[in-house]
């Protein structure tokens, strides 16, 4: 898997390695700088997996706590971003498989069922209306993604949202490439059916 680079901060693997060494040497603020460099990327991934802001914040904190507790075992064999991303993906996969998360998803889906797939009229071409339409489309797509189960959801997010290759997805999830392909195809078919009338 290629090195994941923080877009906003322009961080590099060398800078991350320096901060890690400073943190291991006792500089606690170095870990804060590491968090600031990678928090948006991790938080975005969590939000895509959960579809909920509060849930994403809790999940992101859990990921950084795990990183804090095990960073002393980091051996610099790969980039810190790759190591952190692996922790994040596994934590997110475990979270969406937990019964608590699935129960909350069902409750929220029940409450938002009414008008969930209402298509906004498109005959008006005003700019605010288009913004509202685009926002509604994103909301419905995110809701459809949220309703995917287990690894289908994970591989779809990693492929179509995060832009990872099949090999990287296979490496991160431990699934075979053929399994990754078939689950991505299956997930897309499910989304296509759910978003009929919205796409194109």
């Amino acid at each position: 898997m290629g090195e994941y680079t923080n877009k906003e901060t322009g961080g590099s693997a060398a800078e991350d390695a320096t901060l890690i060494r400073q943190f291991v040497a006792g500089d606690l603020q170095a870990f804060d700088r590491l968090v600031i460099r990678h928090q948006d990327r991790v938080f975005s991934l969590c939000h895509r997996f959960t579809g909920d802001y509060q849930e994403a914040e809790d999940l992101a904190q859990t990921i950084f706590v795990k990183a804090f507790q095990s960073i002393h075992h980091f051996r610099f064999e790969s980039a810190f971003s790759t190591w952190l991303y692996r922790i994040a993906v596994n934590t997110c996969r475990n979270r969406i498989k937990s019964w608590e998360f699935r129960f909350r998803q069902k409750v929220e889906a029940f409450h938002s069922q009414k008008g969930a797939f209402t298509v906004v009229p498109t005959d008006e071409a005003s700019s605010p209306h288009r913004q509202l339409e685009a926002k509604e489309r994103r909301r419905m797509i995110q809701q459809a993604v949220n309703e995917l189960q287990g690894d289908k959801k994970a591989v779809l997010i990693l492929r179509d949202m995060e832009g990872l290759s099949y090999d990287d997805i296979s490496s991160l999830t431990g699934l075979k490439i053929g399994t990754v392909k078939s689950r991505i195809a299956r997930a897309r078919q499910i989304l296509k059916k759910r978003l009929t009338g919205i796409l194109l």
């Binding site: 991790v42 938080f43 975005s44 895509r48 507790q69 994103r138 995110q142 179509d160 897309r188 194109l200």
Partner: protein, 341 residues
Amino acid sequence: MKCTHIQRHLSAYIDDCLTPSMKREVEAHLSVCPACRQELDVLSSLTGELKHTPEVAAPEDFVFSLHRRLTRTSGLKRLRTLVPPFRRKMQFGFVTATIMAGCILFVIHMQQPELARRQRTGFQIEPEQRYDRVAEEKAKAPPAQLGESRLPEGFPSLEENQKQRSNAREKKSEYPIKSDMSHHLPVSEPMIMEGETPVEWELRLDAPLCPSRDYVSPKLPDTADRLEDKTGGGASPALHERSEDLENAFGRTDAEQPRITIQDAAKHVETITSDMGGSVASIEKAGAAEHGLTMAIVIPGSLVDQFMTELAQIGRFDRNVQGFSESSEKVVTILLTLTAE
């Protein structure tokens, strides 16, 4: 090639993950099949929408929230390291359940204040407080007849008391009761402090007395005079066996009522006094008309009622003497005159 076979590979075709031969087959089919092209367009639109899903930025205070979380987590981890029951979640739950059960039992226990009060104070009651309780119980009970035991249940009877006291006296030096026994009595510590004025009561106890070997009937003037001389001079008294004068002296027989000698009555009074922490200050021969002894007794004021109860076992007296109901003084002096009934 059927459309279903082609559509199964459209997802991989979008991702450019097909083998070259398969890719050519798919492209050849798409060029002639509008339905599969429509399917490809929908899937491409879907992936395009997903790819352009905007990223959500972390909250501005994410680092501070993380600090709080790390503090909580590290604290719990340290607790689990230090305390063995907290090392495993199952044990943590067990300890929590145990603490909850203990709290519930404590609450139930505290809801019984009377029981808790008794348990707390049961072994702290002073002997005088116990006597107060006895006095309260007696006040509630109907007045007892003279000669009847006024002691509550559980207390030894007069006979048992006398037996116990006589056994205790046998261990001490046995001294003869004489007309003047003040110098034979044990000297107790002074109970009256300087500046205090003791309350003095006079009490006449009419006991069913009988003359003894050293008691001389008042009908025998010579013997009475001699006894008076001895009382004043302190000489050794002469013994007189005058049992035949029993009826003449008191006008009653042993068959009517069990009688005790005046020496035994004095001993009883002395024993009762010493048991209550008091002392017998003096013993004198009563006036000639009374034919008895006068004892000056000093006892704690709080035990007057108990003393009177004990005294009622010996003989009869008038409890309505003025001031006897007041026993709040620290020390009370009772001038007790033992006379024959």
